[in-house]
């Protein structure tokens, strides 16, 4: 089973993105776009999407480990949002649902959102691929990318 990714042109290079729908008790259910990035240990929701999904960090606890994260030169607190499921479309248009114990929500350590924050996409990181038993296939020269369920 394959989950097609969108190969988009950013900064004159090709990058794999995915549309996901997040569901959970503290989340406004709606789709977001995330960069598939194996350089990130976790699935991480950045402030642009946290605000859109109406995730209030006041109700979240900071992660006990790796409490701060540097991303795109900006320092963030890492909060944990528990009991979330991620939904995405497979190649036949069916919906694949993955339940996760928690996901990371990043919020700047500065009081005011730094200017570049709006340009930082949410990230689908390695923990998601591990939990969902998905492998990443990415051929930027042909603009082909998909996730594949391991058998």
């Amino acid at each position: 089973m394959r989950i097609p990714l969108h190969v988009r042109r950013k900064f004159d290079q090709w990058m794999p993105f995915i549309s996901i729908n997040l569901r959970g008790s503290r989340v406004r259910p709606m789709p977001i776009e995330a960069l598939v990035d194996t350089g990130s240990p976790w699935i991480a929701i950045t402030p642009k999407d946290a605000l859109r999904l109406n995730i209030s960090i006041k109700h979240l606890r900071k992660a006990p480990q790796y409490t701060t994260v540097m991303l795109a030169g900006i320092k963030f607190w890492r909060y944990l949002l528990k009991g979330v499921s991620v939904h995405m479309k497979d190649e036949k248009g069916g919906i694949i649902s993955i339940a996760l114990p928690s996901i990371s929500v990043l919020w700047p350590t500065q009081k005011k959102l730094p200017k570049g924050t709006k340009n930082i996409p949410s990230i689908l990181g390695s923990d998601f691929l591990t939990t969902a038993k998905l492998s990443l296939h990415f051929d930027p020269s042909k603009q082909i990318a998909f996730l594949e369920k391991q058998t």
Partner: protein, 84 residues
């Protein structure tokens, strides 16, 4: 998950992807008008543009827009790349 719930997820994902694709296909054109801004897009149209995400969401709320049906994309400032 119930079938209606699954159908709703599929419907919103497909609508979102249409706007995502339109944004991506028209990025170069949008860049000329909306450099370093964040845009709300629906039905292949920019329905609001602001300098910050907070301001954009406030504008959408004031206009009673259904945020779940809107794609939000940002135009990076000229000459700056974000390495993640």
């Amino acid at each position: 998950m119930s079938i209606p719930e699954e159908q709703e997820i599929k419907r919103t994902l497909e609508m979102f992807e249409r706007s995502e694709n339109w944004f991506s296909d028209n990025y170069k054109e949008l860049e000329k008008e909306y450099l370093d801004m964040i845009l709300a897009i629906r039905d292949e149209k920019v329905i609001s543009a602001s300098a910050t995400i907070e301001e954009l969401l406030e504008n959408l709320k004031a206009r009673n827009e259904d945020i779940s049906s809107v794609y939000i994309g940002s135009i990076s400032p000229k000459g700056i790349a974000f390495i993640l």
